[in-house]
Amino acid sequence: MIQITELNKYFGAHHVLKEINLTIDSGEVVVIIGPSGSGKSTLLRCMNYLEPIQSGQIMIENQPIGMIEQQGKIKEMPQKQLNLIREKVGMVFQNFNLFPHLTVEENITLSPLTLGKVNKQEANKVANELLLKVGLTDRAKAYPEQLSGGQKQRVAIARALAMRPHVMLFDEPTSALDPELVGEVLQVMKDLAKEGMTMVVVTHEMGFAREVADRVVVMDQGKIIEIDSPDIIFQHPSQKRTKEFLNKVLK
């Protein structure tokens, strides 16, 4: 599904991702954890090329994203090709990034309609199905500012799902939420996982990781220091740094 090989990413002189190798299978749920600044968000953002990369390769369903080889030279791919690949990759942001000038329904249908995938009627039908799925059928006509944080994030998930992505990326989807509202969003994510959606999730919710993750990736200072099943990571981590980090967070 996703293959990352020898990925390096710099911000200016700052080496943020160092020789990252990671393969994610179809249907797998991978949780990424690690201290602040370790590069989790950046790695996720590279996966749909919101961040350009300096070396290495990222393949989505065996297609390279962002960079392609042409006549022996590596160049950025044309926007159109990039957009096509991006449709397969849904992304959910920490701050929701809903479109404040559109209703919930319009938020969900905007991209499918703009890209001419469906007509207005079908788009609305799909939107209603998705709102049912995330439990928000009654808020279709509301504007984002009229929603609670948990509701906003569920709309953001529905919006990403409307493009029928093959994989979903989540960047700390619950960390901007009031504690009582965290549960409703995690529940939607669990349902998605159960349906077999491929998911990559950056989160501090260790409970979710334990329960849902197939594998947990631990990052530190731009490197992946450990990949294993949640049981092993949480009970018998092989790295000292993993232990230290978990101690702080679980305390």
Partner: protein, 224 residues
């Protein structure tokens, strides 16, 4: 100083002023449309990564914002006719000249408001598979327009008044109508105060319309 406004009712003065006002309103309106189009193009173009495009936009901004409208109008109307035999009518040259001038100011307003929209909005649009321009048109601009309105009010009001420079290229607008009445009867203060009142009313309408639009466009608000 005693003011004698009965002068307005004599010699067809008021009708002449009203005719001038109507010219001013018409010229301003068309110039305003051009100004918005140019402002949008140059404002967005100025942020382009393409060096050529952003260079052209920066040059446009520097020239049309940096030099006097009077000079621009004279070059456009007389300069083109004398040097290249391009003979624009006064109205066309006036609307074009005003529009291009004001467009430079509007472009800065456009750029500022687009840059003030949260970066996350563009990222969200792109990550949904929409292109840069699709996201710009459907997501960024509708939000930016709302923020442009207060400075646009300033600019449009200035535009109304800048239209008085069109008298230099023989457009019979309000200020020129006033000047020609004053030249006749020397009742400056009566005439100028009347002109001021006319401009005031036009500008009041502009700022009120924009304030209504502001409220209508309240991002995410209930619009019904």
């Amino acid at each position: 100083m005693e003011l004698d406004f009965s002068i307005l009712l004599q010699d067809g003065n008021l009708p002449l002023l009203l005719k001038g006002l109507w010219v001013t309103i018409r010229m301003t309106f068309f110039a305003l449309c051009i100004s918005c189009m140019i402002g949008l193009l140059v404002g967005i173009g100025g942020m382009s990564k393409n060096k050529l495009i952003s260079g052209i936009c920066a040059t446009y901004l520097a020239w049309f914002r940096g030099t006097p409208l009077l000079v621009q109008l004279v070059l456009l109307y007389y300069g083109l006719a004398i040097s290249l035999q391009i003979d624009l009518t006064a109205s066309v040259a006036g609307v074009l000249g005003l529009g291009m001038y004001s467009g430079a100011y509007v472009s800065e307003i456009v750029r500022g408001s687009i840059q003030s929209i949260d970066q996350g909005q563009m990222e969200a649009g792109r990550s949904l598979g929409m292109s840069h321009w699709q996201t710009m048109g459907k997501v960024i601009l509708p939000q930016a327009v709302r923020r442009m309105l207060p400075p646009l009010a300033n600019e449009f009001i200035a535009l109304t008044k800048n239209s008085s420079l069109l008298s230099v290229i023989t457009v019979p607008e309000l200020m020129r109508a006033g000047n020609s009445i004053v030249a006749d009867n020397f009742k400056y203060f009566e005439i100028y105060l009347t002109i001021a009142l006319f401009y005031f009313v036009v500008n009041f309408v502009i700022s009120t319309l924009i304030r209504i639009l502001e409220r209508k466009l309240h991002v995410g608000g209930v619009r019904t």
